[in-house]
Amino acid sequence: MVLLRSFVPSLGALLLAAGQAAAQGVLIDKSEIRFISRQMGVNVEGRFRRWKANIVFLPKELGRSKADLDVDLASIDLASDESETEVKRPQWFDTGKFPIAKFVSSSIRDLGSDRYEVSGTLTIKGITHDATVPLTLKKDAAGNNLAEGSFTIKRLDYKIGEGEWADPETVANEVIVRVRMVLPPVK
C-alpha cells in the first residue's frame, strides 16, 4: 500500500506529461522517418518503424521550442529480412551495443515563408556530429502542422558499414534522411 501511494503521484505526473505531449507532441502514426541509400548506383528505400519524439514547436517562441528524437535502429524496415538482419550487425549499426540513434536539437531558426532550420547533434553508434535539418511547414486538412524536410548524412562519419562495406562504390557514403512530422496545433 505504501508502495502504491508513492506510485500514485508519479503516475499522475506521468499522465500529465502524456497529456502535454499529446497537445504538443507528434502524431506518430502519421509521421515517418525514411531514408534512401544508394547501393551500386541503385536507390534503396527504407524506414524506421519505431521511434520516439519530444517535439515542442511554438512558432512565436522558437527559443522554447525543441525537437528531440530517439530512433530504435533495430526497427529498421529494409528490402529483405536478410538485409535487416545484416544492418543490425556490428559492422553496421551494432544495435546490440548501440540500440538508439539520438537527435537533440540546440536551436531552431525561422528562415521565413514557413521554412525553418533545426540545428542539433546526431548520435549514432556512440559517435556524435552536428546536424542541420531544414523543414518546411504546412497545414494539413485536419489543421495539424506538417513539418517535412530532408538532410544528408555521411554514413562513414558514424562508422555505419565498416570493413568490406566501407567502400562507397558499393554503398554510397551519402544517405538521404527524410522526415515527415505531423504536429497537432498548439492549444
Binding site: Q39, M40, G41, V42, N43, V44, E45, G46, R47, D77, L78, A79, S80, E82, S83, E86, E164, D167, T170
Partner: protein
C-alpha cells in the same frame, strides 16, 4: 531467328542466375548478381516486344505438316511463351519496387518504381515471380521436347529451319 536464340540464352542465364543469387550471403557480389538478373529480365522483355513487332510485320513461315491438335498446341504454347516473356520481367520489376529497391537498367536508365515500398505486397509478388518462372521452365521443357520430337521422330524441318544458316528469317 537470331532474336529467338538470343532470348533463349538470356532466359536460361537469367533463370540460373536468379536461382543461384538468392542463396548468396549478402555481399557486393550478391548486389551485382541481382543487378545483372534485373538487366537480363528487362532485355528479355524488350526482345519479346521486338519479336512481336517483327511478327506483326512479317508473317511466321507456314507450319510444316502435322495433325491439327499439334498445330493448336503449338499455337497455344507459343502464345503462352510470349506472354510469360512479357509478364515475368514486369512481375520482377513490381517485386523490386515493392521491396523499395529501384531498377536501374544497365546501371544507366533508372526505371520508375511501379508500386511504393510495401513488405506484405513484396512477399506476394515474390511468390508470383517464382511461380511464373517455374511455369516458364515447364513450358520451355515442352517446347524443347516438341522441337526434338519433330527433328528425331517426325524428321521434319521444324528445328532445322530455326538454326543459323537456314533461309527463314
Amino acid at each position: 531467328m537470331t532474336l529467338h536464340w538470343l532470348a533463349a540464352l538470356l532466359i536460361v542465364g537469367g533463370f540460373t542466375l536468379g536461382l543461384s543469387m538468392v542463396d548468396l550471403p549478402i555481399s557486393r557480389q550478391k548486389l551485382q548478381w541481382y543487378a545483372w538478373h534485373k538487366w537480363i529480365g528487362i532485355t528479355v522483355f524488350l526482345l519479346a516486344c521486338a519479336r512481336l513487332g517483327w511478327r506483326a510485320r512479317y508473317r511466321a513461315p507456314p507450319p510444316v505438316e502435322m495433325p491439327a491438335w499439334q498445330q493448336r498446341s503449338a499455337t497455344i504454347s507459343h502464345r503462352l511463351l510470349y506472354a510469360l516473356m512479357l509478364v515475368i520481367p514486369v512481375s520482377g520489376w513490381l517485386y523490386s519496387s515493392a521491396t523499395g529497391v529501384q531498377v536501374v537498367y544497365l546501371g544507366w536508365v533508372p526505371l520508375p518504381d511501379l508500386v511504393p515500398k510495401h513488405k506484405e505486397l513484396a512477399v506476394v509478388l515474390r511468390a508470383v515471380h517464382v511461380t511464373l518462372n517455374f511455369t516458364l521452365l515447364a513450358l520451355v521443357c515442352v517446347h524443347t521436347a516438341a522441337a526434338l520430337k519433330h527433328h528425331y521422330v517426325d524428321r521434319d524441318s521444324v528445328l532445322t529451319r530455326m538454326l543459323p544458316g537456314s533461309r527463314n528469317p
